[in-house]
Amino acid sequence: MFPNKFDYVRATSVAEAIDLLEEYADADTEILAGGHSLLPTIKSGLASPEVVVDISGLDELAGLEIGPETTTFGATTTYADVLHTDGVYDAVPDVAETVEVIGDRQVRNAGTMGGNLAHADPASDLPAVVVAADATIQIQGPDGERAVPASEFFIAMYTTDLGPSELITAIEVPNVGDDEGATYVKKKSPSSGYAMVGVAARLRTDGDSIEAARLAANGAFDHAQRLEAAEDALVGATVTDDLAATAAGAATDGVEEWELMDDIQVSSDFRGQLLEVYTERAIQQALDRVGVAVSA
């Protein structure tokens, strides 16, 4: 509620932001993008940075581009920007659909794509979808630029592959092809609205059977994770009425109870159940969507 004092610096370019992070490397620094995770964290006393580097005004990081193969989101693109861009639902319906169910209108007006991923809240919505979509996270730091596959980006609760003076600059998401179906389904916590469980799916079919499947969940584990056993159950399988249910049953295969998050709203035991239910819904919805246009 009443944060400690901190210094505030507004960066005018990515290069300057990185320089500032280097300069204050000894202090406890935080990047400020949409502020919708950082500020609550500071106000509740969970973070107490000495320096805050504001990147929200950097034009070079804002906006998205829908290319023929991939859609690229600048790190400071807000959720609202995403939803207000023509063509996102055609290109990456799963991402658009995810952004649509983040928080409320105020949150969507302020929160950013890069901030969401960098913060890596286990109950955030965006991580699962970038993992399932096999997106690439573009990173820039003192040593230059590098690209990390989304599935390697998230390491643990609030922990990513980002180095101390590195920034996410962009997220590249492969577009959904005609032979693919993609979706994100989520069970919102009735209090916070975050995902108690959220499952993203991208499936490719040849009409009769599944050629490729990528499933990922957030809300369930300490970081967004692929559901490999369920993916295995799908790949090569013939599309039948009960395929989704059968494959979803594998969502918790090999998962130990301690790996599933446990809190006052959902025990780990029930989380496993929700994970299966929502995996089934995601698979079914993705299957139903192959070759079908999705709109807002």
Partner: protein, 781 residues
């Protein structure tokens, strides 16, 4: 039925009562002009921040305030010692020390021991809140932690930690009511005994505006002025005077806009009393504004009971009701802490049923948790929950339809006034009527068919009924002042002690007064929420604004009208008996042209030329009703449940309420809808959860699920009208009705839905996980 509102200038003279006039309270709120306590800023104002216990149960061995005191911008740091040194005894009023309650005091600031997380320990006054919070963090409290107990069952165990030495068994009170012997005997002879064990969840009241106060002291005049969001300016005046020793007449208490009261802004708390005390110490305006997190641990919680309810049945009728309950009072007995879970709960347990023998016993138990007291409905939602769950269980046991069982057991219209074995009276009622009306909205037969078809497809629909009563609106012996003044201009000002908390009092009061005086509604202003400007009377709570405040103003206005008639007679040179009043005009019977409007009368009323006994148009009336009122109704809920995910969807919510004569149907609908939403919260989402260390885990809005708009279905509202014989308006209370009705309807619907899966019981809240688990367990059996 959807109710359209009309603008106040569309209201015809004399026809205001019964019209759905727009709320006059809304414009300042919507335009941002409304001032809440924290919006008030006084010169030289400083900020009070309270240090509260981190632990649920601990002895305080030392409080080192030196670092905090040395901080720039800190004016003072206070502990119990300072309070005692000022001559106060450091206690605040509560329910302890009565005949049936433990002799346990509440403290302004903790005295050597803390008994719940949030128990106030020390106070910092600083130039701003940032400094205040930093200083609070700098106070070094040495705690010696004690074993603690946060659940009522554990607290009653033999070896449980003792929370108060004065109550070694942790029993805060023991209370019973009803005809015990006859009731217990009725069980011996009964054909059938049906029993339910219910655990009622603890909820946190979350008014939009957390508690706040700003106090000023004028030493020369020895006057204290306190602005705060509260429910009763005169009540606060009372307890400030009692605790601080300042004479009542020198204390002004004002309520600016109040961001929700719901019962939890009715009691004395450390926050506002300490703000006043600090203002007296420092001779500067002192403001305290609780943060949301502070409100979660320090504003009263409510409703936690564990109980067994039994019905003795003969010929399909309940002939005996026995309820044995254990209720949580939290770490201390706050005001209402004993009253709410005993009388306010226990004497309402009959619901709509004609039950000749009834007996209720409640044991209040201390736990290391925040204090519990009144929250919208105050005991009655719990009571309605018990009897309506039991009614369904009885029907199930007898293998009959829940409505058939209810109809057979209803108190019949000709049994009113009805006296219960608890000694409480119901004024009037017609319970079949609201049920029949509800069934006009919900086609019961068709639903049962749809339910059966859905079950074939593996879908689970359920219907639940709640046939509730409440007892509210003041009672015999209660007193409420209403003050009226018609200015020489003909404009009317009416004054009442009932503080507006969002209900729309001013709208309703103005409708009543305008009709009685035959003036335009916009010519009636209402003044409330200022102890200096209102007559004696009660505070807002117990659904009595219209039944008490409205009737006081009605009676006062009637007297003024008679005075105006006498003045008109004097002016028109006719006998008072010959003056007729209609359409807002006085005229001489048989000579309509010789007339005066009430405005004309007002313009001559303040004249020394009038005889002394008819001078002036001012009136203070003290109203006392014949008795309380018993609004009632039928709420019907249809739910669909997915047993795989535990998801519960409310398909339909139909509420039919009878609150007697209606002053403003739109306001009534609003009160019902708000109440229903609050209980949807308790039924499905809300739960105050403590860990074993006494930490309130659900202590933020991130974790504690107050229902949002998206969680609430459309609420279809309609009504019947059975006037109360106990007051001139014929009105009954409405503020709490929705809250009282809702919970059992939702839970009964849920059990109905899950019945084919073997479920016959579930406790609240109906979270996804609980529903899923309940189904799992039923399937295993």
């Amino acid at each position: 039925m959807s109710i359209e509102t009309i603008e106040s200038d569309e209201v015809e003279r004399g026809k205001a009562v019964g019209s759905s006039m727009q709320r006059r309270e809304d414009r300042p709120l919507i335009t941002g002009e409304g001032q809440f306590t924290d919006d008030l800023k006084y010169p030289r104002e400083v900020q009070l921040v309270i240090l509260r216990s981190r632990f649920g149960h601990a002895t305080i061995t030392d409080i080192d305030t030196s670092e905090a005191e040395a901080m720039d911008g800190v004016l003072a740091v206070y502990t119990e010692e300072d309070i005692l040194a000022s001559g106060l005894d450091n206690t605040i009023p509560g329910d302890g020390g009565q005949d049936h309650t433990a002799p346990v005091d509440r403290h302004l600031l903790a005295s050597q021991k803390v008994r719940y997380q949030g128990d106030p320990i020390a106070a910092v006054v600083a130039k701003d809140r940032y400094t205040g919070h930093d200083a609070v963090d700098a106070i070094d409290v040495s705690y010696e932690r004690l074993d603690m107990v946060t659940d009522i069952q554990d607290a009653l165990q033999k070896d449980a930690p003792v929370i108060h030495e004065e109550a070694p068994d942790n029993v805060a009170f023991e209370w019973s009511s009803g005809n015990a012997d006859e009731t217990l005997a009725s069980f011996d002879d009964a054909e059938e005994v049906v029993e339910v064990d219910l655990s009622i969840n603890k909820v946190v009241a979350v008014p939009m505006e957390p508690r706040a106060a700003v106090a000023q002291y004028r030493p020369a005049a020895e006057e204290l002025i306190v602005d705060l969001g509260c429910q009763s300016v005169l009540g606060v005046q009372d307890h400030l005077s009692g605790v601080l020793g300042v004479p009542e007449q020198r204390i002004t208490v004002r309520a600016p806009e109040v961001g929700g009261g719901f019962g939890v802004k009715a009691q004395p708390y450390t926050g506002h009393i300490l703000a006043a005390w600090c203002a007296m110490q420092l001779e500067r305006p002192v403001k305290w504004q609780a943060t949301r997190s502070e409100a979660f641990v320090s504003t009263n919680h409510s409703r936690r009971h564990d109980l067994t309810a039994r019905a003795a049945i003969e010929d399909g009728r309940i002939v005996g009701l026995h309820v044995d309950s254990t209720a949580d009072v939290g770490g201390y007995l706050t005001s209402g802490g004993a009253g709410v879970p005993s009388g306010a709960f226990g004497t309402r347990l009959l619901g709509q049923y004609d039950i000749p023998n009834a007996f209720v016993e409640v044991t209040g138990v201390f736990t290391n948790t925040t204090t519990l007291s009144a929250y919208r409905g105050a005991g009655r939602p719990e009571a309605a929950y018990v009897i309506e769950r039991l009614a369904n269980a009885c029907a199930r046991e007898l293998g009959e339809d829940p409505l058939e069982f209810r109809r057979r057991n209803f108190i019949e219209p000709d049994q009113f006034p009805y006296e219960t074995p608890f000694g409480s009276g119901y004024d009037s009622g017609d319970y079949e009527k609201t049920l029949d009306k509800a069934l006009e909205y919900v086609d019961y037969e068709a639903f049962r068919e749809r339910q059966a078809e859905a079950r074939e497809e593996g879908r689970y629909l359920g219907i639940g009924f709640s046939n509730y009563i409440e007892i509210c609106g003041g009672g015999a012996g209660g007193l409420q002042g209403g003050q009226l003044r018609i200015h020489p201009s003909g404009k009317v000002v009416a004054r009442s002690s009932l503080v507006e908390n969002g209900q729309g009092h001013a709208t309703g009061f103005s409708q009543i007064v305008a009709d009685e005086l035959g003036v335009d509604i916009d010519d009636v202003d209402i003044v409330a929420g200022d102890s200096d400007r209102v007559p004696e009377g009660g505070g807002t709570g117990g659904s009595k604004a219209i039944t008490m405040g409205g009737n006081a103003l009605k009676e006062g206005a009637k007297k003024l009208r008679e005075r105006a008639r006498a003045i008109a007679a004097h002016e028109l040179e006719a006998a008072t008996e010959d003056i007729v009043f209609d359409d807002g005009e006085f005229h001489v019977a048989g000579a309509p042209s010789r007339s005066m409007t009430i405005e004309d009368v007002a313009s001559v009323a303040y004249s020394g030329n009038l005889p002394e006994d008819i001078r002036g148009l001012e009136e203070t009336t003290f109203f006392s009703p014949e008795g309380s009122t018993a609004p009632f109704g039928t709420h019907v809920v249809i739910v669909e449940i997915d047993p795989e995910s535990g998801e519960l969807e409310i398909d339909r919510y139909v509420a039919i309420d009878d609150v007697g004569t209606q002053i403003n149907p739109k306001l009534i609908e609003g009160q019902i809808v708000g109440g229903v939403v609050q209980s949807i919260g308790q039924a499905i989402y809300e739960d105050a959860i403590y860990d074993d260390n006494g930490n309130l885990l659900s202590g933020t809005l991130q974790d504690y699920a107050v229902p949002r708009a998206k969680h609430v279905p459309e609420i279809e509202w309609d009504s019947t009208v059975t006037p109360s014989p106990n007051n001139p308006l014929g009105a009954k209370g409405v503020g709490e009705a929705g809250t009282i009705a809702t919970m059992p309807a939702i839970v009964n619907a849920t059990i109905d839905a899950l019945e084919p899966l073997g479920v016959d019981h579930i406790d609240m809240p109906l979270t996804q996980e609980r529903i899923w688990r309940t189904v799992q367990e039923a399937q295993e059996e």
